[in-house]
Symmetry: D2
Subunit: 337 residues, 4 copies
């Protein structure tokens, strides 16, 4: 921690802070410049956490030199993590494709999709049973009935299944039926839900919030990890910017940034990032080439009547084309589908 003092800070102000730091058993290293004095604090910073040094007299600002997330931090866990979901490994030398409908609408729709995506090469089936929708008048999901179809689809196809959860009730239901929980973008800082997901024992896919910095995203993952659950996969799905040609702006740079800062696997969801079917395939290629550990792609037997996110969903044929097209890109990156 570095304390930057205001220009011409009074000696008493500097001494007061120095004394406080030393009184708490830390060291204060003072660099007195011509304009500005800075104080480097060395030692266990938690001993100062009840002090808001920012508003002490003559303090200009505080600069942190260490991240607040620890378990997600690559500095303390240099090896990339591999997260197991059923018999599928995310991270390492595989490229994992999750696919399925935005919302589970019926048994038939889900089973048809499960078979089709498996045949095309997907390894995990996704499907929403609890749908967070902007308007209360839009379809809200089949809830537990949808989860039952998910389980049935796994039994029929052998594909592990993932479902978004939006409440403790949903988690309690989901653990009976699915292999991985998803925390959606709108709940990325629903810290209560993060802790409960951490306690569930299931691996968790944590989508990035629409306005979340990478630092906040890793802190959110820390809520899950600190419950003793090491199986977190991150999912970049677009952030909110001024551009309206796409539904969100895919922050593809998040992949190398996360690879540097964390050991957790990261996948990309080009369907939600763009909201436009025609852009999904090129962005999937880009995501693989930049080094993502996987993709999440929405598919539907008939996108034109999908109850949620039809405009960005692929038909089975389009999905199969996509998988075939990205396969050689994955191979170039040393990853198998």
């Amino acid at each position: 921690m570095i304390i930057v003092m205001k220009p011409n800070a009074k000696k008493e102000s500097i001494d007061r802070i120095k004394n406080l730091i030393e009184f708490r058993g830390l060291d204060a290293h003072i660099s007195a410049g011509k304009q500005v004095t800075i104080i480097g604090v060395v030692g266990d910073k938690t001993r100062l956490q009840d002090q808001n040094l920012e508003i002490f007299e003559d303090v200009d600002r505080i600069v942190s030199v260490t991240e607040s997330y620890k378990l997600a931090n690559r500095k303390f866990h240099p090896e990339p993590s591999i997260v197991k979901v059923g018999n599928v490994s995310i991270g390492g030398d595989s490229l994992v494709i999750m696919s399925g409908p935005c919302a589970v609408e019926s048994r038939d729709q889900l089973l048809a999709t499960a078979h089709a995506i498996k045949k095309a090469g997907a390894q995990i089936l996704r499907g929403g049973a609890y749908k967070p929708r902007t308007s209360p008048y839009a379809f809200q999901g089949l809830e537990e009935e949808g989860l039952k179809y998910m389980k049935e689809a796994r039994e029929e196809t052998g594909l592990p299944v993932i479902c978004e959860v939006t409440s403790l009730n949903a988690i309690e239901a989901a653990v009976k039926y699915v292999d991985m929980l998803q925390i959606g973008a709108r709940n990325m800082q629903n810290f209560y839900l993060l802790k409960e997901a951490g306690k569930s024992g299931l691996p968790v896919l944590l989508k990035r919030g629409l306005a979340a910095t990478i630092d906040e995203w890793l802190n959110a993952s820390e809520y899950i990890l600190s419950e003793g659950n090491p199986n977190v996969v991150l999912c970049e799905r677009g952030i909110r910017t001024f551009e309206t040609a796409t539904r969100n702006t895919l922050d593809i740079s998040a992949v190398p940034v996360i690879k540097e800062k964390s050991h957790l696997p990261i996948i990309i969801d080009p369907s939600h990032a763009t909201g436009v079917r025609a852009y999904v395939k090129p962005l999937a290629r880009g995501a693989v080439a930049v080094g993502a550990d996987g993709l999440m792609i929405e598919t539907h037997p008939n996108p034109s009547i999908a109850l949620s996110d039809g405009p960005q969903s692929l038909t089975f044929e389009q999905f199969e084309e996509l998988v075939n097209e990205i396969r050689p890109f994955a191979a170039l990156c040393g990853k198998k589908i």
Copy 2:
């Protein structure tokens, strides 16, 4: 609803959509321009909601002409709403100031604050018992113990009290102790929580999400309203932008926009919007002048040791100064404090 076709859309594509619209019992008005044909749809749009017209052949885009929120919409409820919290009315000709600590830390801290803010002119006491914090290692709140102190503070001072809730558990506890629930920015699209807050019977303060458009914010309020709870107050607290001189960017234009689009009262929280104590007073003046129905201001007996958000909290003296300073501005706007 307007359907904009692609340039040179085929006649069959246009006919197919026209037939679908008419088959569902709506009218299709076709305007064939030189470059582009548009189709105006007249009638009950819910009859088309299972059709994703965006991805029908030759469709360029869909333009909505009506908002998806109805109960929050001023078009159907032209009179401004007044929300009662205990004996305090929000909306109309009063300017309501809510104040108190970011986090309830102790009985003494809360009671001292309650007395001080009442004396200075605040009408509602705020205090956080469930704190959503970026890092899991930061202080998370006293939970039910904090709520008990809130109730005690109300009994001592007569001020109604408001507390943020972050889960169904928190709502179930809070309804026993407080007069108004707060949904925080990070939970603005936690639709499950919104519904539960709607069912609680208590008035609800709904903060705007960091990346939420005004349209999404009003749709979020619709989740509460559609549970039969008409007592919603909106709170603008800054949105996320590229600017870093302030913690967030106060979108003060939201006040006239909300006044035009909705009948719900709107207040402003300059403490969270800026994160900097010195900016709270000028922004409070601006908020009153632009026409807000109230303010939420963080105060603390000793901000330099506050466990949360100390840098933006005012001392009691600073708060009293602020109230005295804004009083004549409120009067100019026809509002009493």
Copy 3:
């Protein structure tokens, strides 16, 4: 300047930097923490400007402790500046209202506007003769002919006049006719133009760029100031965010931030910030209350046929109402109109 080293930086990496700093005649203060070592650099930083220390081995990042703008910086010029435009003073205890059409369209339009706004209380006439328009097919301005009308309007009314310039040619023409130059948002980082405006000898109104941080804005002002021209007034006119209910998002917090960081006067343009006529008046009240030194408000004899920005322009009656309404707010802030 503080150099933050990576965790476990090698001793040789630290020594290499320390030696370089000392070799250049500066002091290096080393604070070796348990995880991270930081190096405080004391002395004249320009001696290191040919070294990109960020990419030296084991360097994590560089933290600046002083701002790069000097002449605009309040730390070195504590007294607020007052800028004279003709006989009008901007800054200090006056609230200056600039008004007029977005674009000068004709002699009649401009003269009618000049008389009307003077009568209503405006002190400076604005009018665009060189219009930066998104599309090349939109009206681009009357150029020198427009400037002549501006001069004539000044002669008739006594109001000083301001016009936007977009090129060296435009500056060379404008200095013959107007009292103040305006650099528009789209040219805020057209550094060539800033320097030429600095050399012109006229006072300059510098609008904030749509994506410019306050720090970049003050650095842009430094380009003008460092040409020996101290007469710079800043104008906040909305920044670009994800919100679409308004054309831009007025960053009203910029007023207290600028007042803290700089001595330059700052005015607000609610017309461009919102793009909606109905929002101009409440935002003008907010701007005055927050402490702005002035306003820029677009007016037009008949907004429905204005060639540029009609939807945000006020009629003369609306403008007069606005001035009358803000007068008591200005008085409360200790400012005269």
Copy 4:
């Protein structure tokens, strides 16, 4: 064009608009819904451009159905354009790599770079002689001297050369020495400069502004094209968002969006997009895979002493590695380097 009326718009308001439209020789198609009436306007919209229909009584908003850019629009020019720069073709089946230093610093630096990047596989040499810098105290470029070195580098290596221009003076100098002009992000809406670049006769690389929508970017290209210069190449280089882990946020989705909306070639600059050397290579792979027509990559003989943008510049060895690594990705996309 569609005019959406307010709910319960008066019949006279609707008639007034209908009459105006018809008086100007266009057709008005009225769809009267239960809540809202819309008016489709069919015919030549330029006949209405002197009318601000947005502020006519009872008008809610105007929806455009055609883009304002015409020459850049793929609807009217379905074939992708190929832009020749010297003997190099941008667009079509080649992947063009432009490389060189951010700033030309000396003859030796530039010539060494030119030889190194040619050997590694680059086809165009870039180098800045006029540098737009945030602070006036940073290195501003060698100006015409730098251009002379550019020309010499071309003569020695045969590589066409590109240089950024920031003023008419710079254009007048540059046309004597270089093969392609660059308009930088900060000047993307410097419409005066765009027109002058259009008149220069040289091909132009138009970088996207930090806060420019894709629609505004294409309108900016229209300024160049409408001067009779069809040789425009677009360059995505990151937009400004709230994320700070990278200098800007690369909007990689811009590639498929531009490919759909325009026929102009588009390249990506991962150096400026991220500002971090370690992220350049993965983003270059992603850029190629998503379908970009080229890359712009900063290189320097010794990045640690580069006078501008050293932290994002690659050494010659790193650049050669990058080219070798992306070669097979380009091949998969059907493009040759």
